[in-house]
Amino acid sequence: MALLEVRNLHVEFPLGRKTLQAIHGLSFALDKGERLGIVGESGAGKSVAAFSILKLIAKPGRIAAGEVIFDGRDLAKISDEEMRQIRGNRISMIFQDPMMTLNPVLTVGTQMVECLKAHRDISDAEAKRLAIAKLREVKIPSAEERFENYPHQLSGGMRQRVVIAIALLTDPAVIIADEPTTALDVTIQAEIMGLMLDLCRDHAVALMLITHDLAVVSQVTQKICVLYAGRLAEQGPTRSIITQPKHPYTQGLIKALPQQNEPGARLFQIPGTMPTLDDVPAGCAFHPRCAFADELCRREVPEPRPIGDHRVACHHAEKVASA
């Protein structure tokens, strides 16, 4: 049985008279130590998916239907206190901007000890020892000194290392990383990504990596979910998604990567932009931007169906795959 399994998740935001469907029927599974990438444009519902797993969706959003099974329990049904015991303990999360996620008025050490003491019944000295060990593990030099520092005394890359150390502190089973390297510059990005990959391998932690960077996903993950306007577009093993995409949107994303082009040639673009949630077109949400669209696409929403080892939500997937 999978460690974390999301089944047919629906998340909606009631907004006045309308109700926005932020996530519509998302399903995926994550095994122990497995690494999954969630890919999509801004507003596709990636972060909402992450927050709904932890039951921290901003009000008035709510899980309308579906199950989030973790360790055999449905997280959508357990009490707030049980959920609190899982957050940061069994499932950790890493955010985009380490500048914002560390509290500016507390030292790194205070924040780490606090996290440990919220989940373990240990002494301050023991917590400090564990925290410093974790700081060493994420390759922070002179960890004892850094333990006493405030976040503003550290560099961006160092801060993200601290955030990763906090996420690993309680030896979680799953880490959800929401664009963990977007706020960092490119050289540091590679370092941090490499570090996360090593740590996840060493501790057999499952990683759910949310990003819009296909290059990163292809290097780190084993499985990919591509989201479009709150719905699943395509999911499958990373290698085959990258090399043989079967959904026109995935295909467009991969074609748009700079590596796929001749040097000096113009980059490929998917025409148009993703619809906002209050203005999703009828039928397939992608049809106004799709070269394969026909009458069927305008009329009927495609349900995800298995094609090879992928699951693809497209009426014309066979045609797209061979194109």
Partner: protein, 306 residues
């Protein structure tokens, strides 16, 4: 030791060292506080001890006046023959105690309510904020006058005299809590949407802990700034109430009741009983307000003037 060094290196200390007005007002304020709390040691007389008061000494002018002065009384005496200097020292002490305690009470009530309102939101927020609106629609002085008048009427002047300080602290403290509640709520609303709060929730910290350990410290600087204004206001409120005869009784005068008691004699030539305590009150309030202005400028980098 490390913390002291950190403090001495801070921007606050650096800017204090370069600001003459701040240094002057801080020195003045400190002098008042020390003089007031050391009153039993430095005052030449004990104004609370009837044995030391002689009615024959009443209305003696200050030393620098030409006639009828007495070398024992630097600032002269009041209508009951109390040494004005000693009475002012003891009175300043009462004013300061009431000011500080009332503000402490305001902070206790206001900050807790503001924190809960801002963080929890929803109905609890609406309830407390409407309560604050109601409280603010009645002026502080009006609430205070009604409360002390009712208290005096129910328990009599005797008992009131004994617990006057407590009553004043309660009245002024309760009347002004919405100032804190509103300010804190506004900062909490701004802080709550920051990612470090999400991060703290994701770590699985309990709600009260996020409120007190994470959000509250980030709202401290506005609390600090309005505190200076509120202490000055509380001292003024107390003086005003005492002046109206609803504050400290005449046998335990604060600055306000001292000013009030001298007011009857101002036209008979004994101006000093009113004027000298008034000057002390003005100087005290001015020093606190100048300090508050300076603190606001330092804590809000957007207002840096130089």
């Amino acid at each position: 030791m490390n913390r002291i060094r950190l403090f001495m290196d801070s921007d606050l200390v650096f800017r204090f060292g370069r600001d003459r007005v701040a240094q002057f007002s801080f020195a003045l304020f400190l002098a008042f506080v020390i003089a007031a709390f050391a009153a039993p040691l430095i005052a030449p007389f004990d104004p609370y001890d009837p044995m030391q008061i002689d009615l024959m000494d009443s209305e003696i002018p200050p030393l620098w006046q030409d006639a009828n002065t007495d070398p024992r009384f630097l600032f002269g005496t009041d209508a009951q023959g109390r040494d004005l200097l000693s009475t002012i020292l003891y009175g300043t002490r009462i004013s300061l105690i009431i000011g500080f305690c009332a503000v402490a009470l305001q902070i206790l009530i206001g900050v807790s309510i503001g924190l809960i309102s801002g963080y929890v939101g929803g109905r609890i927020d609406s309830f407390f904020m409407r309560l604050a609106d109601i409280q603010l629609s009645l002026s502080t002085l009006m609430v205070a006058i009604i409360a002390s008048a009712v208290f005096k009427a129910t328990f009599g002047t005797e008992i009131y005299g004994n617990v006057a300080i407590l009553v004043l602290v309660l009245v002024i403290g309760i009347a002004e809590w919405p100032q804190y509640a509103r300010t804190v709520r506004a900062s909490v609303l701004a802080e709550r949407s920051k990612e470090y709060v999400d991060a703290a929730r994701v770590i699985g910290l309990p709600r009260w802990r996020i409120m007190i350990r994470h959000v509250l410290p980030n709202t401290l600087s506005p609390i600090l700034v309005i505190s200076t204004v509120q202490i000055a206001n509380a001292i003024i409120s107390e003086a005003a109430l005492s002046f109206l005869g609803l504050g400290m009784p005449v046998n335990k005068p604060s600055l306000g009741s001292l000013i009030s008691s001298g007011f009857e004699f101002i036209f008979s030539g004994s101006w000093w009983i009113t004027v000298i305590p008034s000057l002390v009150l003005v100087a005290l309030i001015l020093s606190i307000n100048l300090l508050g202005d300076w603190l606001r400028d330092v804590l809000n980098p957007r207002l840096y003037k130089d």
